[in-house]
């Protein structure tokens, strides 16, 4: 059972824009990549989950947000931390923190949220479903104290 994950990446050239900084929309790609790496670390794949009946289980976003504190740049080293704020019946609520890795320590650069819904997709149709038991056995909600500390 896990509720926390840390993921590193180097900022790519194509993530920047003419202001010389990472385009704000890329933070959402970083969050998603972090979430998927978290799944893989738990021996699951976001994508390959068959529903055992010709369909598959996916996680479209219901709500996302991001707060930007400092700009980041090409070749910055980032650490992205994920916390599972809540596991509901059909949704998971993630929190993210972005830190730039410095020679000495870290600088907080942004924080984000993603509320994702479990859906079953079959023949192009999506339907909200309960989170499968296999997932529930691996992903748990952070203890309240952890969540408080994370979001403070």
């Amino acid at each position: 059972m896990a509720y926390r994950f840390v993921y590193r990446r180097t900022v790519a050239f194509s993530d920047t824009d003419l202001a010389g900084i990472v385009h704000f929309s890329r933070f959402f790609l970083y969050m998603e990549d972090c979430e998927h790496a978290f799944y893989r670390a738990e021996d699951e794949s976001v994508h390959k989950m068959s529903d055992g009946d010709g369909g598959w289980v996916g996680w479209p976003r219901v709500h996302v947000s991001c707060d930007y504190r400092k700009p980041i740049r090409f070749e910055d080293e980032l650490e992205i931390e994920l916390l599972v704020a809540r596991v509901g019946t059909k949704t998971i609520d993630y929190r993210f923190k972005f830190r730039r890795v410095e020679d000495e320590g870290f600088t907080a650069v942004a924080s984000g949220k993603a509320l994702v819904a479990c859906v079953r997709c079959k023949e192009g149709v999506m339907e909200a479903v309960e989170i499968p038991q296999a997932i529930r056995e691996k992903i748990e909600q952070a203890p309240e104290g952890e969540l408080k500390k994370f979001t403070d």
Copy 2:
């Protein structure tokens, strides 16, 4: 003076992901493109604004969010509506609504927010500044009733 803008676009193939729908991060590109088209309609360019002193004025995001109600797909026709919720001293707060254009009417698919800060960029350094008068003369805050109607 303007506080509202409507912008249309057709969903591109490269905006979709393997779930067969538009990737959630693309909604932020649509919002940004709508904001820039709004500026151009007001005879400004987001980018080309010189500060008259070797630097330029830009609008990095402080906070963004999006709420997703229905998936959209390749070649869907979208209408994106922007409303200026607030013009502060150094920030502008935008609201967005996404509608899919149907044969008869529209379907609401998503809504979003972007709080942007006015910064002056010179030699790679960004500094928050007051919104230039030239912008203030063109962009105004929506009347309270309009905002209420928009976000309800």
Copy 3:
């Protein structure tokens, strides 16, 4: 029957990189969007083409290339011209020219190629197939003289 198409677009902020110019990879998105707009103008959609048997017909790329002559920038107005260089049994060979729209005339900025194959996709498997008759009736090869003029 058509073998030529012209498509306009304004360069988006998120298409730029820290060098202040449009990222080279975006030219391929512009070519693809132009190709799809060409299809739509011919009353077809690249995507929605059912094969009448539970699968669908798609056009993955076999080869693409781009030659860059001049950089383009945010809010530049682009004209992209497509020419059908060859319609084979299972492939179509497109040529593209990129021009920046100036106050007086145009500046040639880049040119590109895309060789696309017709495939049938069913249950995640792709198989090269002959181009459907409905497409052949709408898309034709440019006369040799036109192609020569285009690529000179």
Copy 4:
């Protein structure tokens, strides 16, 4: 002195399109990221290279191409190999091979090219320049036999 580099990455969800495979344009981002990682391995950064005179040295593309042999999918593990085909006075010509990492060995999925020019950028103006000596001391041309083997 180096003329070869190997770089690994996992395919991201946002790299896929509705056909369920990686969008063809993403291969160019993978090539670019590989090239930049090659530079970093040689203790250089593509971006941060000052020209010692208020400008900086960059590497815009003159020509790129990609040949696609097999589709790749979300969470595939890729190995991208770079070879320096030629170091000219003002340009470097790179070759790339893409392999999917399998349980046993590799599958060749694509190959690419990028001809990049050395430019000096100052105050938004780009000018082609000779490749700086510091780069020449680190990046060399592959021996002819190696290039032949690579591209066969």
